[in-house]
Symmetry: C2
Subunit: 223 residues, 2 copies
């Protein structure tokens, strides 16, 4: 019997991507919530390089990095395709997934760092939003008319970013500045493929509010 385990944090967009893909495929799995301050030995053994979630364990073998896991899930399990069929469309989906992946540090720096790092992060987030605003003009999904790989990769900017903005008390995305991205984000959050999979916004907001306060407190303290 195929045994599938997922080690994750419930509030992590990267864990969410994997859960989302498993649900799309209809794969039964055991979810194990990790504690970031006390990671399990299973996590540390399964991802010795990064010691991070998510980790998918399939028949005892660990796979790490959310989008690498998504490729694995798509290649391994039956069910609807996550990547498009056409090689050129697959390349587009992987391109946007990489683009979004490359901006994770900028988003993190904007909300979880201070000073120069934060300012640089914010600048890079604005650059990213400019690109996305241009790309998502008249578009609902990243590739063709079909929900898939890149749309799952977009959960950080499509959902978590808005939670961060509200929790942190800073607005980066306005419909004046980024009209296409704003419209896309509203549609993203409310479209059936996405809506059903997202965690509770209120619970996430409460969680990140507390995290932001802890970060601010640790930065205010003398080094």
């Amino acid at each position: 019997m195929a045994e599938v385990k997922l080690l994750g944090f419930w509030y992590s967009p990267f864990t969410h991507r994997v859960e989302w893909a498993l649900k799309l495929k209809g794969v039964k799995y055991e979810y194990i919530e990790e504690d970031r301050d006390n990671k399990s030995s299973l996590l540390l053994q399964s991802n010795p390089v990064h010691k991070k979630v998510p980790v998918l364990i399939h028949n005892g073998k660990p796979i790490v990095e959310s989008m690498v896991i998504l490729e694995y899930i798509d290649e391994t399990f039956e069910g609807p395709s996550i990547l498009p069929k056409d090689p050129y469309d697959r390349a587009l989906a992987r391109f946007w997934s990489k683009f979004l992946g490359d901006k994770v540090a900028a988003v993190v720096n904007t909300f979880f760092r201070k000073g120069e790092e934060q300012e640089k992060g914010k600048e890079e987030v604005y650059e990213m939003l400019k690109v996305l605003d241009n790309e998502l003009k008249d578009k609902k999904f990243f590739v063709g008319d079909k929900f898939g790989f890149a749309d799952i990769a977009a959960n950080l900017v499509g959902f978590w970013l808005g939670v961060f903005e509200e929790g942190y008390g800073v607005v980066l995305v306005t419909s004046e500045k980024f009209p296409n991205f704003s419209r896309w984000r509203d549609e993203y959050i409310n479209c059936s493929q996405v809506k059903e999979s997202l965690p509770s916004r209120d619970e996430l907001l409460a969680f990140f509010r507390a995290r932001f306060q802890a970060v601010v407190a640790s930065i205010s303290a003398p080094k």
Copy 2:
């Protein structure tokens, strides 16, 4: 007739990855050398987001990001497989490719920046070498016994890094500090799959020596 064009820089490890993959597959292509100070309109139109090489143009359609292009080449053209066949091995290959991709900025900062950025880059390069030294113990290739995707992604650390060290006059990799990595690198450069594809070391060295001097000169000048 399938028409394949590659826009690149001859000295770029990322361009080299794509050339390597095309040659492995036996794909005929037209190579177009770009000028970094005067990029062609074909390049700017083909990669409007990053405006960078390499760009593969297949039947008029552009594909960008070296490892995304490799996936495309593997899915589109006949010939020996670049990614392994088994989904788990594919995931390992993609993991190492991503790991190496995530360290590009650190390598660049170590050799092409100064001050704090350079110091942070160097620290991160040492961390990377530690991980690779551990991973490559008793290994010739990254996944199984077969040359492929991750080994192509490793060209930056397997070949260019040594050129940078010599050109810049700094040694990061010693066989005392990183014995497994050193042994792997020697084998990598000399194994038939790799050796035949690499550009001339002397020409690269001359090119990067001049680049490093220009960088140092621009940094010494008052801002």
